[in-house]
C-alpha cells in the first residue's frame, strides 16, 4: 500500500502523501518523543522527516519496505539532534519529561479504572526513565525494537548496521533496563 501511495505522491498527488503522513506520523512522533524526550522537538522531527521523505520520493526504492526507509530518516534526525545537544540540555529535557509522562501525552489503549491507570502511569514513568537513561546507541535500538516492534533484521536495515551488532545492543540494552527496573518489579 505504501508503495502505491509513494508512486501517487511522486506524481504530485497531495492526498496520497497526506495518507502516508496519517499512516506514519504517530509512529515517528512516538519514536522521536521517546528519543528526545521533548514534545516540540519531536514534532519538529516529524515535520522534518516528512519533508525529507517528500523531497526524496524519487529516490525511494520500493524493493525496501517504506517503514524501514522512513524510520531510518526519522531515527537519523533524532540521533543528529541528540549529538548537537549541549550536555546541559539533556537535564532540561529530563525536567520537561516529568510533565510529559504524567499522563496527558499518553493514552492507554484499553479502558482502565483510575487505580490501574495510576499504576500504569507509574510503571510507565519508571520504564520511560529507564529508557531515557540508556546511552543513545542503545536507546535507538531499544525504541525501534519495542516501541516500533521491528525485527532485528529490520532494525539492522534501518540503522545500516550488521544484525550481530543490533543483537548485542538489544542484549545489553535489555540487561541495562533489567537492572534499572529490577528492584521495582
Amino acid at each position: 500500500m505504501e508503495g502505491r501511495l509513494t508512486k501517487l505522491a511522486l506524481k504530485g498527488d497531495q492526498r496520497a502523501f497526506a495518507e502516508l503522513v496519517e499512516l506514519y506520523k504517530d509512529k515517528i512522533y512516538h519514536l522521536a518523543y521517546r528519543m528526545l524526550n521533548n514534545r516540540h522537538e519531536a514534532e519538529d522531527i516529524v515535520q522534518e522527516t516528512f519533508l525529507r521523505v517528500y523531497r526524496n520520493l524519487d529516490r525511494y526504492d520500493d524493493k525496501q519496505k517504506f517503514s524501514t526507509w522512513i524510520y531510518r530518516i526519522g531515527t537519523n534526525l533524532c540521533i543528529d539532534r541528540l549529538r548537537k545537544r549541549k550536555p546541559t540540555y539533556s537535564l532540561d529535557a529530563e525536567m520537561n519529561d516529568q510533565e510529559g509522562i504524567d499522563g496527558y501525552s499518553m493514552i492507554p489503549s484499553d479502558n482502565v479504572t483510575p487505580e490501574t491507570e495510576l499504576l500504569l502511569s507509574e510503571t510507565q514513568r519508571v520504564i520511560y526513565e529507564a529508557i531515557d537513561s540508556l546511552p543513545v546507541k542503545y536507546r535507538s535500538v531499544m525504541i525501534l525494537r519495542y516501541l516500533q516492534d521491528l525485527s532485528l533484521q529490520e532494525i539492522s536495515d534501518v540503522l545500516g548496521m550488521p544484525v550481530t551488532t543490533i543483537k548485542t545492543r538489544v542484549h545489553r540494552g535489555r540487561e541495562f533496563l533489567r537492572k534499572k527496573l529490577g528492584p521495582k518489579m
Binding site: 504530485g12 506520523k25 512516538h30 499518553m106 516500533q148 540487561e175
Partner: protein, 204 residues
C-alpha cells in the same frame, strides 16, 4: 551449561531467535539453577513491560498533519496538468488540449472578477469604472465581448455582442447587426468557450 551461556541464550530466546534444541537445553539449566531462573523472570518481565509500551500511543498535536502538508514545497500549477496527462496516456493530444482549455476556463471563471473587454474596434468604446459604453453616433466594426461588467449600447455594432457575467442595456438608438449573447453561468461559459474554440479552429 554455564550460567554465562545460559544468559546469552535467554536473550536469544526473548529475541525469538533460539532454535528448539537449545531452548530445551536452556530449560534444563533453568530447572536446575535458581539464580538463572530469577534472572530469566526479570528479563522476561522487562521484555513484557517494554512491549506493553507499544500500545501507549504518544499523541502529536492535532494540527501536525496540516502543518506538515503546508510545509511541503508546492508543485507549480502547470505541473498538475502534466502529471494528469502522464497518468492518462490513452487520451489523444486533441482531447487533452480540449480538457486543458476547459480546465483553464473554469479557473478563469472562478477567479477572474476583473473587467475584460475584447473586440476589434475598441477605441470607439468608452469605459467608465466597470461600465462599457458604445456611445450614440459611434460605430464598432467587429465583435465586442465584455466580461464582468455592465454594457450599454447607444450606437452601432457591426458584429456580435457577448456579455459574460454582466448586464446589457440596449438603448432604442442601438443597432447590433450580429447576435447578442448574454452568458451568466459557468456551464454556459464553458459551452461558449468550447463552441468558440471549435469555430475558431474551423475558420483557420
Amino acid at each position: 551449561m554455564e550460567c554465562k551461556l545460559a544468559v546469552s541464550l535467554m536473550h536469544d530466546y526473548l529475541d525469538d531467535d533460539l532454535p528448539e534444541l537449545q531452548q530445551r537445553e536452556l530449560k534444563e539449566h533453568l530447572l536446575s539453577c535458581p539464580d538463572c531462573r530469577a534472572k530469566f523472570k526479570e528479563l522476561e518481565q522487562t521484555d513484557m513491560l517494554m512491549f506493553s509500551l507499544m500500545h501507549q500511543n504518544a499523541v502529536a498535536s492535532d494540527d501536525l498533519v496540516s502543518r506538515i502538508m503546508d510545509s511541503l514545497p508546492k508543485p507549480k500549477k502547470e505541473r498538475a496538468f502534466i502529471t494528469w496527462i502522464k497518468r492518462h496516456p490513452a487520451l489523444t493530444a486533441a482531447s487533452v488540449f480540449l480538457l486543458v482549455m476547459l480546465m483553464s476556463s473554469v479557473t478563469f471563471w472562478n477567479q477572474d472578477q476583473q473587467l475584460v473587454v475584447r473586440g476589434s474596434d475598441l477605441d470607439q468604446v468608452v469605459i467608465q469604472g466597470d461600465t462599457v459604453i458604445v456611445p450614440s453616433g459611434k460605430t464598432i466594426t467587429g465583435n465586442l465581448t465584455v466580461e464582468n461588467g455592465k454594457t450599454q449600447v447607444y450606437g452601432e455594432v457591426n458584429g456580435n455582442v457577448t456579455v459574460i457575467d454582466g448586464t446589457l442595456y440596449k438603448a432604442s438608438t442601438a443597432h447590433i447587426s450580429g447576435q447578442v449573447k448574454s452568458i451568466d453561468q459557468a456551464v454556459s461559459w464553458l459551452w461558449y468557450k468550447v463552441t468558440n474554440m471549435f469555430s475558431e479552429v474551423a475558420y483557420r
